[in-house]
Amino acid sequence: MKVKLRILRYDPEKDKRPHFENYVVEGQPNDQVLDLLNQVKWYQDGTLAYRRSCAHGICGSDAMRINGVNRLACKVLVKDVGRKIKIEPLLGMPVVKDLIVDMEPFFEHYRSVMPYFVNDDPPPQRERLQSIVERERFDDTTKCILCAACTTSCPSFWASGEYIGPAAFVQAHRFIFDSRDRAAAERLVVLNERMGVWRCHDIFNCTEACPREIEITKAIGELKMAVAKGRID
């Protein structure tokens, strides 16, 4: 069946401003939108630029706006979105070419929450013990693939690029609620800043956008409570 793609193109070497271009490709209901993009790039117009790698929703390269919502191109099938598909780059980050956005600001926020395990006590000979329940506490937020679909769906982030953003909160949550970690206090100080958790207005765009189905808003809620109560539970 024929599928119509409407792609927002922007080539900084040629265009002053972005414009839509239409392509018609042959597609099956079970094709990924990424397959269609590949068809365009390989057989119709090689200048189309987008990121992709694993093609099954694990690497997080191909987050983009598909029919107005942030999705991974490889996790959306044609039958989910119909035969007219509008594809645009993510909102709130500088577009460098076609569907490619500059990810640097995103990773800067990511780095700002100390997204790494800190425990300076000398480790035991074997593993640090952790109960199944303690492990379960932060399981959800370990799933994050840093695709930026959540952060770029957040109206607070659109309004201000300084907002730390859901993806970084998810990372903070993963470590703050890890019973082995010892740097929760430092991270909470960062989250307590003006552009921290208090800018989250429970809009749930991030939760809806997450391709890994992480309950992001809930995680942020737990972070808010951790700051408020001054303890983690």
Partner: protein, 129 residues
């Protein structure tokens, strides 16, 4: 050159977020609305009372029209209900798992508590005029 990261208000509105985003927008609009008309109302009331200012009296007359009352009632009720939902979720993050259910509950309460009074309001206003 890379394009600017700025997201215009309209571009933001074009994002097809689900109910949560609609609620967020309504919450902001109703909130700002309440601030605006309560603010003006207080000032107008003060000036009217103290100086017998004509403009203030005129403003107050607008406030008392039933159409405007309906609007204010919508804003206050919506803002109150949505605010309560947000507060509950913020205080008990576990509730966020049921955010969709909470939204439907909120709308159900809203429809009932907005519908009946406004029905009577419109009826009495129309019959009295």
């Amino acid at each position: 050159m890379a394009l600017s990261r700025r997201v215009s208000f309209l571009a933001g509105l074009r994002y097809r977020g689900k109910q949560g985003m609609l609620n967020f927008i309504l919450h902001r609009i109703t909130g700002l609305g309440i601030v605006a008309f309560v603010g003006i109302h207080v000032v107008a009331g003060f000036f009217g009372q103290q100086f017998g200012d004509d403009l203030s009296f005129a403003l107050n007359t607008i406030y008392e029209s039933w159409q405007f009352q309906l609007f204010v009632y919508f804003s206050v009720l919506y803002h109150a209900l949505n605010g309560t939902r947000l507060t509950l979720m913020d205080l008990f993050p576990k509730l966020m798992r049921f955010q969709r259910e909470l939204l439907w509950l909120q709308w159900a309460i809203f429809v009932v508590s907005f519908g009946f009074p406004s029905y009577f309001l419109i009826q009495t206003s129309l019959s009295s005029s």
